[in-house]
Amino acid sequence: MLEVNGLCKSFGPLVAVDNVSFTLQPGDVFGFIGSNGAGKTTTIRMLATLLEPDAGSASLNGLDMRRNAMEVRNMIGYMPDFFGLYEDIKVWEYLDFFATVYRVPKSERPSIVDNVLELVGLTTKKDAYALSLSKGMQQRLSLARCLVHDPSLLLLDEPASGLDPRARAELKELIAELGKMGKMVIVSSHILPELADFCNTVGIIERGRLITHGRVDDIVRDLQQTKVLLIRFIDRAHEAGMFLHGNEHVNANYVTGPTTLKVDFTGEHEDQARLLKMLIDEGYQVTSYMEEAIDLEDVFLKVTTGAVN
């Protein structure tokens, strides 16, 4: 289990991370979302023991990350937002080197290298030079490197950046698979719809503060206290908006086109049905009436202000 309590980090006057706390259980895939400069990378680097926090603590499987840094490093796989490949080194040599560094017994190294290469789909590239691989393959090799010592926590910083759609889809599948294997995975990314596909928990960070975190469904449910109704008419959408103004369950409404109206609605399903009846009774010709599903991108846009450090 990963427990993060009140992590803080400043660089001079810049507060990069401010009192970040969250907990992860084995199998959790945690999507870490934030704008550029929000504090994602700094938080991940602190969890990777590459930065000492100014305050706060983090523990992995009961071991404090500061006091037991060496032991904790054995349980962490860190994939930065860059490759960090060596020249003149073959794929298997690269993995063998890191297996040695993580003290994997010599007799087990060849089979482990083969297994992780198979997991990331690079078996055929075993004898290729690491630098000759495509960006997507290098990214997969980087992920394979994180796995050679079978860590319980994976820290993946922008793993999908710069990848083509196919490579992104493959990486997404891989990360989901790692979650199923019982590993805790923290993934930071800007590509929010993709995170929603495989993350069961998310944290949204802005200006170093974790604004919200938890199960995706819980966050969506919390935000959907004011659900959005999308109503389409044959015409007179603007007039319908005026009509709904002042209704006890309507917080606000926005005409998004001559025939489309979005309504911030606080009522229950019965109130929703009543509203539709009212509109029809008033002679508005409704062509569609639906509750707009909120996605991770909407959550992000709703809870953040866009401010940066």
Partner: protein, 278 residues
Amino acid sequence: MKELYAELFTENPVLHHATSKFSRSLRRQSVASQRVALALTIIVYMGLVVSALQMVEFVDASVFLYMSLFVSILATATVLYGSLAGERERRSIDLLLVAPVTTNQIVVAKLARAFWPVLSIVAALTLPSVLFGIVRLTGKLPAVESEAPLVLVIIASIGISMATSLFVAGVTLYLSASNRTTSGALTSTLASLFLIYCFSAFVAASLGWINRGLSDLILTPHPFVALTRVVFRTYDKIPAAWSLVVCIGLHTALGLILVWMAARKLEMERKRGNKPSA
């Protein structure tokens, strides 16, 4: 002490991999063109040695010892200047710092990269001097005014070369750990070595006009001066043995301190880090 030895050598995974990688890279020399290149180098080298031996009466054999010292300094700096700065430049340093290895282990593994090349250079360039001494059958180096026994001169020369290389390795590793780019590390290493070995000699020589004692004091640990004093026994007030001891001792001690400082520098980076770009 036992724990430190184990940490740095017997239980250092980075070092183990570095040494096995060296042997693997030697095995890779099986490519035909590399074999030819190696054979040509050996032939040319042997040719040079044999021609020099034929001119044994006219050639000062000590030149090979100076070459050995000079080339080992350059080789150490060349092999190591990019060792840590290069890791930082290609951003692979984080991958090592996040691993369960100490910064001492990382730095010692880097230091080991220079060991074999420098040892090979010292051995290859010292060999002609040994041959000269053997051919003359006098047991002395055929150098002007040289009366020192050949064995002592060779041992002293190897000692000076290796101690100087350790010091140069320390300087280079420290500067490599302090620079963000390999070009920065190379420039600062060359500038530092110039200041340490050339500029200091120039200052000491200039001071000699005013105060000979002070000049001697500055020059005592200088490796080229120590080697000259050993080879030619031109010690004036300062005995050759003293110069040798000071040179080897000071270079070794400072070298080890600088290697330790390079490891500390990395440790600071691991703790404080640099402000990430995003």
